[in-house]
Symmetry: D2
Subunit: 361 residues, 4 copies
């Protein structure tokens, strides 16, 4: 039986658009996808760059007016990979036109905007690209936690460190302007860490935060730090920075619970450390799991055990899961509501940093 | 200007055929490829499996008779991903039909066979899939050596350990039969280590070896060990085994030279350790390089620094390099002659193991 | 020329007293010590235990009344290794009797007490056992920072995690009672992290903190977390816990600065990671320094390069440095004033945690 | 009841004599020693150096004539820490005088010499300082093997790499002269690896070896490599070198067996990696054990779990075990017979390297 074809419009043509394009091309090679994906149109501002991107990834058409694109009747999915301040208008227009909406993270530049977006977007299937949930090691951490292998959580700590902002002469993109980005390290990096934390450790109930600037004259945060209480009784620390000199893309989390410990460091992308306190004391040690199978998340999809995967596979797996959920008419885990919850925490972070007080959620 | 189209025939439909198919699909997304690749036909023995593979990867046709396929006038490239004993007849037929020939490693089941193949294949462009040369860490090791950063080599040591043969009830494929595989761990694993050694450290002049069986009744080697003298005056140890219980795909090399040390362990695929003895003594230490850029091999092709790549990218990079070389009418590094040299070492290994003597090359 | 003999009275007979006794026995074997140390008397509450300790370490006498001991005219040094609440009375009495006073950390159970102690103790030479300053890796970090190798500091982060309190049935010593310990994880663990931070990164100007209890009914903190601003413009996070299940003695710090990164993890006691951003970008990586020489702190004192040292050597080095300073009539780095500063930060932590506000220092 | 006093004569005053002296001083602090040790006399060739060593470690007397010393009636133990070629005359004389004999490794400069020594020494209690057996991680590996946790061994591989000989201008001691050392890397380094292998994996039945020189004019081996068959059916590789540039004291072993894997690397002295194949496949991973307790070898002797020990403790533990065995009138594990077996393997290595053939043991 012929599969339904979904025509895709990509809004954006930068680095992330490349990662999404790759996922559209690759998903059917690794997942049993119940749809045919058609890379219909890529939309951006620079015609030369657009044509190059279209040629490279096989987009059939290019376009420069997203408003026209999102209402085209031959489009099924609108995928938004543009600066944060454009997420809302595009997503709302696409949702109002009845399209399936994919949106890069962070969802919005503010909580209010996120809530307005969500109201419009709840009518259609949605995906927010919190792709790091689909790192096999992260998904396996979730499984171990769900199985009770960590027990009651005591501590959650998370870093997301890069050095992207530490050379002001090179840090000149929209990501360094509040008007387009909304936030700096908080939106770019902390949002990922918060998403992981909510996924793995549940809601945050209260927090106190610092947002800090090292670069003179920059109006987005270079670094954001916070302490938090979680609903499950655990306490947490978070640090996100673009001045983490020496680190290029170091996202970590560590969990200490009554029955075990988990540690993840994206510098060791395919690995997860797990310590089980039910082991005999003289054999208790961090196990350095290579999460490429057997019996690990996505290990049936990609290669063989110990044949490692990388950055791009997180987008492929996110898309694969979305399409399966869509066929079953179920929402995707890490959906719109999760993205709003992340935004709610970021909002509390901003308010706490400004008021220098604890803020409840 | 329109690019020339190259029509590909894939002979084989197993795990490695999947890795090759992915490379054919992906190469133009990451490399500036001067050809259009057309996945024309996939050829195997099991029609159901073939159709599934064709659907998954977009092969236009399926076929069951490789002899008919390799002589089709509409085929430009024949890619061989079948048991070792079939490499020779297919490669020779394809070369005689004037096709570009791609062949999985090891090239042949014996040195004599390899030499016969080479004679036929020298007339056409060829690629032997020693894909691990294209791990960025390995290619960067080569660059550091070529730049003299390691100085005179003293020691080369290499492991390739997996546990694939250690459960005899599961180890029942063609890889465990001499008639189809030629060799066991030597062909499967050691061939990769030898290729890396010849690439990084130059010719081997003399060796003494053990081939060993742990599984009763198995007629290919489960493990092969050797000591070697290199032409550059260094000495080396090699160990390859399918009984490396606890290791799933652990390929390593270490080099000690007069100016530095290099260490690679495929369990840390994106990393390379480099120690520079020209550093001040109190700052001499292994640097744990993440070889994802900037200014690393293939770092312009794939993602951004610290956005890691995996197993499949070694095939993509091999293919990308081949197609560039083809357009320039140059042979690919890691070409046919390299593959014959690997076979020559494997032959010496077998002779040494049987005669229990040192064998000169 | 005969060396002056210093007669020592040890007050305490527990685990730490053993570490001190070892230092008294060993210091002259590794340091050029300008004094003869005489282990005169060990003082505690349990005669049987005292006699065993005296026999094991060669203390000449045992005693049960510390008041009598600290005023003995034949005693030169009083070393205090007892529960925190006894530090003040013993130290003050010893100082008033004109003795050299050694005191375990944390100095006191409160800032007020610490200041009272300091007033009395300033008249005599003193040593507070912040032994971890003398880990060669930590001392080498200090040297690199002082040489400007890290540049302007942006981030300082520190963990001190153990699991000592996580089994309430076993956690029944004085360390779990406010009346004797003053604080829990804050005094036991955080004090070490704060001392390292003040030593390596300078004064803290402002902080906000959580102190938290997981164990029901326990009146000391199980965990303390804080965010801080440093006088040098950097920002920091600290976490200390006795519920760090999976970690037994994991003290870490990480520093990101404009010119480099430093990372230390006491699980790798002899090692220090250093990344130098003045290296060529493609060779920038954490160097995993083994800080055992050549030209590392204390590498002339202990064994040869790569012959590692352990926990006990931090006490030996502290004592060696003290005795050299004493002979030169100079105060020891990590002296009384440093210990008061640590106490001042701990006090701010407590006030912040109680008031749930930022506290200036 | 008073303990028996054992008077010790140390023959030698170099680096190793320092490590032994430390053990004599420290053993009673960590082991329940049934004797009082008295550091009676230290004997060497350089009076100034001797007096310095005596002062530092508390030797009561110095002497320059070992022949006189070893026959002194007031001496109970003769400890030999001098160049290899002097082991035999001193040990034989001491044994003939009825002394307890301690001797540094390797026992002798040749197998014949070792056998002559052994004949004389069998009449008295003896200790050969194969101290690395007492690394807790090594002793724990032995325990796991003995308990069957590794199952049938398939592979044993061992490295001992340092760079001590790679700068010929600095490598001028007796260790670089056959007349005094007997062997180079083989005696210095490989002997330790062989001792570990015999201890952990049992007898070697057959081997083939290379001995190699990099330094012009040097008459001891700079590097020795070998392949071996063990009596238990496993196969092994060994590499020992003084040209392992980048490595300062890197002694490793790895064992793959039917039930698990063990890995030890002396760069991580306190750690042992253990993988258990009876774990569920998705939790099978190297566990990075920190072998400092609870319930690890010597963890009751030294500090608390996670309070690490170092190089010197291997000597202390060897001595502690010897004295306990002496009191029980039992031989020490790693006794004279073990040392002769090591020498027998070294002899086979030399013969194989010279004859370029396999040699049976």
């Amino acid at each position: 039986m012929a599969k339904q074809t979904l025509n895709i419009a990509m809004i954006g043509s930068g680095f992330i658009a490349k990662a999404h394009s790759n996922a559209f091309r690759q998903v059917s090679h690794f997942f049993n996808v119940p749809y045919d994906l058609n890379l219909k149109v890529i939309c951006g501002r620079n015609q030369t760059k657009l044509e190059a991107g279209a040629a490279q990834w096989g987009w059939q058409e290019t376009a420069m007016d997203w408003k026209a694109v999102v209402s085209r009747p031959d489009i099924d999915i609108v995928d938004i990979a543009v600066p944060n301040s454009l997420h809302a208008p595009i997503a709302i227009a696409a949702a109002q036109a009845g399209k399936i909406v994919f949106c890069e993270k962070p969802l919005a530049t503010s909580l209010a905007e996120a809530e307005t977006m969500a109201q419009a977007m709840r009518k259609v299937p949605t995906l927010v690209w919190f792709n790091y949930r689909r790192i096999p090691a992260v998904a396996f951490a979730k499984r171990l936690i769900s199985e009770g292998r960590i027990g009651q959580t005591y501590h959650y700590r998370a870093l997301y460190l890069n050095q992207s902002g530490s050379d002001p002469s090179k840090a000149t993109t929209w990501r360094y302007r509040t008007s387009e980005a909304g936030m700096g390290a908080a939106g770019d990096l902390l949002s990922h860490s918060i998403d992981s934390a909510l996924y793995l450790n549940g809601p945050i109930t209260e927090l106190t935060a610092i947002t800090h600037n090292f670069a003179p004259g920059r109006d987005v945060d270079d670094a954001t730090l916070l302490l938090a209480h979680f609903a499950n009784g655990s306490i947490g620390t978070f640090e996100a920075t673009r001045y983490g000199v020496g680190c290029r893309n170091r996202k970590t989390f560590e969990i200490n619970g009554s029955k075990g410990m988990l540690r993840f460091d994206m510098d060791e992308f395919n690995q997860l450390e797990f310590l089980d306190v039910t082991d005999p004391p003289n054999l208790q040690a961090p196990r350095n799991l290579t999460v490429t199978g057997p019996d690990h998340p996505y290990s049936e999809n990609f290669w063989k055990p110990a044949h490692i995967i990388g950055y791009e596979h997180t987008f492929i797996a996110t898309l694969g899961d979305f399409l399966s959920a869509l066929a079953r008419k179920e929402p995707l885990q890490a959906d719109l509501e999760s993205a709003v919850e992340v935004q709610r925490v970021l909002d509390a972070v901003e308010r706490s940093a400004q008021s220098r007080t604890w803020v409840k959620l």
